[in-house]
């Protein structure tokens, strides 16, 4: 199997554990996104794969070769850095050719590779400029191009789009997805942006405090978050998480508010997770007093109270409901997620 294989990768700085035993198989042509809040260890994991951080323990295979102790240049990787890290005094052409030159590729051949990659990324007209004369988006393309010419076993991207404005980010996101499908190489992509993760990834690895929380396809982690942290991190707007008691087949939310509980769990108190988009206005259901209305065009986001819980509900466009109104919300039992209070772990329902 080509691609890469991370076996119990661990990083410690003295007594501090930055990354705790990451296990991950990346197959050829697969795009894996490492997702998590800052400080969760996702970048450190990527840098261990790159060889820019030493691996404290564990094993790393790239293309079935043990590279745990090798220098970055000997690992058959290419990397795209967050701040592009283009050599400012070199032309774009020289920037892209540098890695090839260092590997002793003959100049004509290198030039051919650069031209090919430049064409693929539509940056041929920039080749004779210097990085200082380029816009952020253009520099991002060049950084991608520099990785692309190398034709490595795996591409490593460290928050590559975080310095771009929202519109450009969306466009580059699409392009990276297309590019990756076209070249068919493994890609490890770090981001803290869950939209980027959802739209790009074949599989998402969600990390927190140095530990992997869940590995799964975008829809898997959206539909069946492994714990309350993943549930809150994936999806926008955030999932509503409410404390509740289970009694007589009903979820008691307090203040006389309750709803029917999904079958299965045999617990007293739980955390209930309901996605805002799983709630909709109905003739009867949870009484929802509206405190805020955000119109997003095709959709409307309501912020309000159910009992003493603050709740968000995202519905299709609603023009006639305003702040101060109280409406009823309903949801289907299948879209209710339950988590253990202490551990935050998902409680499987009968269908799972």
């Amino acid at each position: 199997m080509a691609g890469a294989s991370l076996k119990k990768l661990r990083k410690t700085y003295g007594n501090v554990i930055a990354v705790e035993g990451v296990d991950l198989e990346i197959s050829d042509g697969e795009l894996i996104v490492l997702l998590g809040p800052s400080g969760c260890g996702k970048s450190t994991t990527l840098r261990m794969v790159a060889g820019l951080e030493s691996i404290s323990s564990g094993q790393l295979l790239i293309d079935d070769r043990d590279v745990t102790k090798l220098e970055p240049k000997d690992r058959d990787i290419a990397m795209v850095f967050q701040n592009y890290a283009l050599y400012p005094h070199k032309t774009i052409r020289a920037n892209m050719a540098f890695g090839l030159k260092m590997r002793g590729m003959e100049a004509g051949e290198a030039s051919r590779c650069v031209n090919e990659a430049a064409e693929m990324l539509d940056i041929t007209h920039l080749l004779d400029r210097k990085p200082g004369q380029l816009s952020g988006g253009q520099m991002q393309r060049v950084a991608l191009g520099r990785a692309l010419v190398r034709d490595p076993a795996i591409f490593l991207l460290d928050e590559p789009l975080s310095n771009l404005d929202a519109k450009l980010r969306a466009r580059m996101r699409e392009e990276i997805a297309l590019l990756q499908r076209r070249i068919g190489k493994a890609m490890l992509y770090v981001t803290h942006d869950q939209t980027e993760a959802m739209t790009l990834a074949d599989r998402i690895v969600i990390m927190r405090d140095g530990q992997v929380q869940q590995i799964g396809s975008p829809l898997e982690v959206y539909d069946r978050p492994a714990n309350a942290f993943v549930a809150g991190f994936i999806g926008s707007p955030e999932m509503n998480l409410l404390a509740a008691e289970i009694s007589g087949g009903r979820l008691i939310l307090g203040d006389g508010v309750s709803m029917s509980a999904p079958e299965g769990p045999n617990l007293k108190s739980v955390t209930v997770g309901i996605r805002p988009e799983a709630l909709e206005p109905a003739s009867e259901g949870l009484p929802f007093s509206i405190q805020g209305v955000e119109q997003l065009g095709s959709q409307t986001l309501f912020i309000g109270q159910v009992g003493n819980h603050r709740l968000r509900a995202m519905t299709g466009r609603q023009d006639n409901i305003s702040v101060g109104d109280t409406i009823s919300l309903k949801t289907s039992p299948s879209s209710i997620h339950l988590f253990e209070n202490e551990s935050g772990m998902r409680i499987r329902n009968n269908e799972e």
Binding site: K73, A85, Y87, M102
Partner: protein
């Protein structure tokens, strides 16, 4: 109030510059057109006569050549050693801060003290270097007696004194180079030497340009080390333009010639700096 602030400051600055720099400089230049046998005698106008005499004298060209050798070698050594030390001090090791501080010490030392200490250490009968060299069976060196040795000695002292300037400036520059560039180079397969030539040196080129310029001008005009050690000797072997100018004006009481030499020295330096800027234009700030 604010309306007068800018012109006010400008006026003060302009007056200070005129009185303290431009005035004396022009006065010095004007002296070169007169024959003034002593500081109290009346100057006699001689036009460009002093320049003709100076330019046709062997000692002027000897001093010019010595100045170029002295300035050139000291700059090269200071820059090479300074960069080397900066690269070492930029590594992580125990006691780095202490060593960084120590490295800067020579620069804080008054030249007089450095020179006297050096003279002491190489003293022919009780200098520690003389004694150690004798014990190790090395031949005695006459540090200031032969022509080559005295040039070597003044260069040695100067490099010891002023390399810290290069080290410190370059070290400060090293810390501004983004770490990601080195990481990108590592991924690209460049080792430490290639990283130095492909990243460090180009990134620090603007700083290096300024260092070489400043040190060059200073070394060309440096009087103290040579004056305090050899006084220009033996037989003019270490006499450069500042020493010659000083000797003419204050030892031989030919103030006109001294001023002419100083003026010529200034012109030479100005041409050199202009050529330098042509060759190494300051890069525009990005």
């Amino acid at each position: 109030m604010t309306r007068w602030l800018l012109p006010g400051f400008l006026t003060v600055g302009a007056i200070a510059t005129l009185v303290l720099i431009v005035g004396p400089a022009l006065y010095a230049v004007s002296l070169s057109f007169y024959d003034i046998p002593s500081l109290t005698s009346d100057p006699v106008w001689v036009g460009l006569n002093k320049y003709a005499v100076v330019l046709s004298s062997g000692e002027f060209w000897n001093a010019m050549w010595n100045g170029i050798v002295y300035a050139g070698l000291t700059i090269i050594l200071q820059v090479v050693l300074g960069i080397g030390f900066a690269l070492i001090l930029n590594q992580k090791f125990v006691g780095r801060s202490l060593l960084r501080g120590l490295t800067f010490l020579p620069y804080l030392l008054p030249t007089v003290i450095a020179v006297l200490t050096f003279k002491w250490m190489v003293d022919g009968s009780f200098g520690i270097i003389t004694i150690l060299m004798h014990e190790w069976g090395l031949p005695a060196v006459n540090w200031f007696e032969t022509e080559a040795a005295s040039m070597f000695s003044v260069i040695l002292i100067s490099v010891w004194l002023w390399t810290p300037f290069v080290t410190t400036t370059f070290l400060a520059g090293l810390q501004t180079v983004p770490v990601q560039l080195y990481e990108a180079a590592r991924v690209d397969g460049a080792g430490p030497i290639r990283q130095f030539f492909h990243i460090t040196l180009p990134m620090l080129r603007p700083i290096l340009t300024v260092i070489v310029l400043l040190r060059g001008v200073w070394m060309f005009n440096k009087l103290d080390v040579i004056w305090l050690t050899t006084g220009g000797g033996p037989l003019g072997a270490t006499e450069h333009l500042p020493v010659l100018s000083y000797r003419k004006a204050f030892a031989l009481f030919d103030i006109g010639s001294g001023a002419a030499i100083a003026t010529l020295s200034f012109l030479v330096l100005m041409i050199a700096v202009t050529l330098y800027f042509r060759a190494f234009p300051m890069e525009e700030v990005k």
